[in-house]
């Protein structure tokens, strides 16, 4: 039907014409203002296969999924479903065509029942009345099929993320979806829960559903997928058979560049201990966490999503209450009840979510930078704003981190993710007595170029003698920037490796180990 021929890249395996393709996308290009989010991407899904979609953060996976599910319309390219070209105007069209997506953060109705979440939009109706008992029975059937341990009448908001994901899968099944897309489904799950999910996915495949599986975790892919498509920097890199490609080749396809260029880590003389926490506990999130950071040292803290890294640091910085534990700065114990205390003690947290926690997006950059220090430079007993000095301070630090902005009055929302992160760093630097910098996922959602800049800023800060603790889920940056790496799992520290002994596999193992042990103990 199309005169175009499928372009096969040198790395990709050529597809034979007689394959039973349920979904095919050719030359998809999606442009957002100023950015090409997808650049000529191809994808083929066979009937009844589990196809992994891999790539780094920002490689374009989510955008690609949104094109398939009709949330975004692609500027260029064609999409064929069962050989027929289709154009989706919205998510509803895709649903009706049998394509359902289960997102990492499920879009749920928290106050409604599981049944209602499953059947919203396609309820069973007779004589204009919703048939609750039939729907509950159907929901129960779906949940039984997924081996779920909760009732269809349970309230959605009361379920765990894993259970909510299961409901989303049930929802996909209820629409008779032929293609189910799972977006990072295991990211928030424990090892046990992941295993259960694997079994469900396999069961779905056996019943004839085709599955697209997005994940960061190699073991997900090896466990489930038969083929894998790799995206990098918004471009299509190739499609490979999972049992024919080596791990190293796959990583090279995903990263595609020498890691050395990316992580300009300077040699820094590591000084004495600047920061130590002992036995920090927070109910339900972490238990007995102890670690330390020296002057000039960059310490990585890694673990799976939900391991309690962020929550621990929130307790340290006084944003949440710690139930136990001691904090030392320069060997002296400090007592932190709120973020103000934490800043006074010299501990500054750069939060994970820049737009919601780090910056006030509809304020100018200058005001953002000086927000924490305005009291210190204010004039007189009434604390009159010292606008002149604030301007100079914000200019100084914004320039020091090389922010791409014209004036200090530019709005936070006008900057890219990377530059927003720089403003947050400038905001921390403006605090004169800062000694310890805790960076939570500093490069999340930052494009590749800006990432390198942020790493170089981190290096500079280490050189200036700041103690840096970096929380990150991204193995390459953990391995590239850290001097020492702690791993956390289920709220506990599970290991501390020197950079010389750390490998991706070892770290992953430590991030999971605790859970596996527990699982074995339980059995």
């Amino acid at each position: 039907m199309s005169e175009e021929t499928v372009k096969t890249t040198s790395a990709g395996t050529a597809s034979s014409a007689d394959e039973d393709l349920i979904l095919e996308l050719k030359g998809i290009t999606k442009i957002f203002p100023g950015v090409k989010a997808l650049d000529n991407v191809h994808f083929q899904l066979r009937r009844g296969e589990i196809h992994a979609l891999m790539g780094e953060n920002g490689a374009g996976k989510s955008t690609f999924i949104k094109v398939i599910t009709g949330v975004h319309a692609a500027e260029e390219g064609h999409m064929y479903l069962n050989g027929q070209e289709v154009h989706f105007k919205g998510p509803k069209d895709a649903l009706e065509a049998g394509i359902a997506a289960v997102y990492q953060h499920p879009t749920i109705y928290p106050t409604l029942s599981v049944t209602e979440n499953i059947f919203m939009g396609h309820e069973f109706i007779r004589h204009g009345m919703i048939q609750w008992s039939t729907m509950n029975k159907e929901a129960q059937k779906l949940l039984d099929r997924l081996d779920a341990d909760f009732k269809p009448t349970a309230e959605m908001g009361a379920l765990s993320v894993a259970q909510q994901q299961m409901v989303e899968i049930a929802k996909a099944l209820s629409t008779d979806a032929k293609i189910i897309i799972l977006d990072e489904p295991t990211a928030a799950l424990t090892a046990n829960e992941s295993e259960k999910l694997y079994r469900i996915v396999e069961q779905l495949r056996d019943s004839g559903v085709s599955i697209i599986f997005i994940s960061h975790r190699m073991e997900d892919m090896y466990r489930l997928a038969s083929r894998v498509t790799v995206l990098r920097d918004s471009k299509y890199i190739g499609t490979y058979d999972v049992d024919k490609i080596t791990n190293a080749d796959l990583i090279k396809a995903m990263v595609g560049r020498e890691i050395k260029d990316m992580y300009p880590k300077p040699k820094v003389e590591i000084g004495e201990e600047a920061f130590r926490i002992e036995g920090i506990s927070r109910l339900g999130y972490c238990k007995d966490v102890s670690l330390n950071v020296h002057k000039g040292e960059i310490v990585g803290l890694t673990g799976l999503v939900g391991a309690g890294r962020t929550e621990t640091m929130e307790a340290v910085c006084g944003i949440a209450k710690a139930s136990a534990g001691k904090i030392f700065v320069d060997g002296k114990e400090v007592h932190i009840k709120n973020p103000t205390d934490s800043m006074k003690a010299g501990i500054v947290l750069l939060p994970e979510d820049r737009t919601k926690q780090g910056l006030i997006m509809d304020w100018g950059l200058g005001d953002n930078v000086t927000l924490p220090i305005q009291d210190e430079i204010a004039k007189g007993p009434f604390k009159v704003k010292n606008i002149q000095q604030e301007r100079e301070i914000s200019k100084h630090y914004l320039e020091e981190v090389d922010t791409k902005a014209l004036t200090i009055y530019d709005l936070g929302s006008s900057l890219s993710g990377g530059n927003q992160q720089k403003v947050v760093v400038a905001k921390a630097l403006a605090q004169k007595n800062m000694k310890v910098l805790i960076m939570d996922e500093p490069t999340k959602g930052v494009d590749v170029g800006a990432k390198a800049e942020i790493y170089s800023i981190m290096g500079d800060l280490a050189k200036q003698g700041y103690a840096i603790l970096m929380i990150s889920s991204e193995m390459p940056e953990i391995l590239g920037m850290s001097d020492r790496i702690y791993t956390m799992c289920k709220g506990r520290i599970t290991g501390c490796l020197d950079i010389s002994e750390a490998t991706q596999e070892r770290l992953l193992e430590l991030s999971m180990e605790h859970g596996n042990e527990e699982k074995e103990a339980a059995q």
Partner: protein, 332 residues
């Protein structure tokens, strides 16, 4: 730990059950005090009838407020809409333009519907906080009620025929209440439209993704609210046999309070018709019972307020205890 959680959960999830329990206990207590004090039954047909009749307006409008609160909105213009519609109905009779009871009720309801439509249109299409828009209309309709009245009241003789419908002993108000509650019970639980209101309030983003026209749902809930407020306006004139421009001033707060007691969440998505009914009934019984147990009616507001605040705070504490026990259960 497990058991404790489930008790909490059950208590929380069935606000209706706990309300019924409290109501029953309250009724028995008042009944005993009354009966053994030699004052006859509290639960006499007359008393029960009065409880409903005196609070018919609150009960009726609580249904509309339920819909509005379910979408995480609020409408504080309802007492003014009521006043405006009631005043129009009153003046039409005073000036001998129309005396047909049914027609007058219909007219009031239609005017109310129009008021609600305006309210909803601005809230949904301009994305302005509902409290501000409805505050504006609160002034406008109340002001128009004064304009329509021309500084006059419609009283006794003017509305004599109309008041037949709502006078003490007439079945009118009860029929309106029963019809409204049965209809809403069915709509909110068993129809797609009712469930869409819940969906929009629970997660409006998810609702629009699953193809629900959020704006249309929002506009229709404010129209429902306006309709009921208009109807209440006519009912008010009929029950109290008078129409004054400042009638039922401040009623919106009573209505909201009844909903809140009945377990309707102001954050949207949570609440039921049964709960709303029980909340309004609780409020009504409280008002009727207080004088009988020796508390002057001037104590009414204070006790109402304490009850509202206590319910809200208790709810929060329960939620906290639940969250805490959930955290404690997490394996580490």
């Amino acid at each position: 730990m497990e058991e404790k959680t489930s008790v909490w959960k059950r208590l929380r999830s069935s606000r209706e059950v706990s309300l019924v329990l409290i109501l029953v206990i309250m009724l028995i207590a008042v009944e005993c005090i009354q009966y053994f004090g030699g004052n006859g039954h509290f639960l006499s047909p007359t008393n029960i009838g009065q409880i409903f009749r005196n609070n018919a307006l609150t009960m009726l409008m609580a249904l509309g407020m339920l819909c509005v609160l379910l979408t995480a909105g609020i409408d504080i213009s309802i007492a003014s809409t009521l006043g405006f519609c009631g005043m129009v109905v009153g003046m039409l009779q005073k000036n001998h333009i129309c005396q047909n009871t049914l027609l007058l009720f219909l007219l009031a309801a239609v005017i109310g519907l129009g008021c609600g439509l305006l309210n909803g249109l601005i809230i949904a299409k301009c994305h302005i906080a509902p409290i501000i828009v409805s505050m504006g209309f609160m002034y406008i309709w109340r002001g128009l009620a004064y304009v329509v009245s021309g500084n006059q009241w419609a009283s006794g003789a003017d509305v004599a025929h109309f008041a037949e419908f709502g006078k003490d002993g007439s079945a009118g108000p009860y029929i309106v209440l029963i019809v409204a509650y049965v209809a809403f019970f069915i709509i909110m639980k068993w129809t797609r439209f009712g469930r869409r209101i819940y969906a929009v309030g629970s997660n409006s983003e998810a609702a629009s993704v699953s193809g629900i026209n959020v704006d249309r749902v929002l506009i229709s809930v404010y129209m429902i609210m306006g309709f009921l407020a208009g109807l209440s306006g006519a009912l008010s004139v009929s029950i109290y046999a008078s129409a004054q421009p400042n009638m039922q001033y401040g009623k919106e707060m009573d209505v909201i309070a009844a909903c809140v007691i009945g377990g309707v969440s102001m954050n949207g998505g949570r609440g039921s018709v049964v709960g709303t009914f029980l909340g309004a009934l609780f409020y009504a019984v409280l008002a009727k019972a207080l004088p009988l147990v020796g508390l002057d009616s001037i104590w009414q507001n204070l006790i109402k307020g304490v009850v509202v605040l206590a319910v809200v705070l208790l709810n929060t504490l329960t939620q906290r205890a639940m969250d805490r026990s959930n955290l404690e259960r997490r394996e580490m």
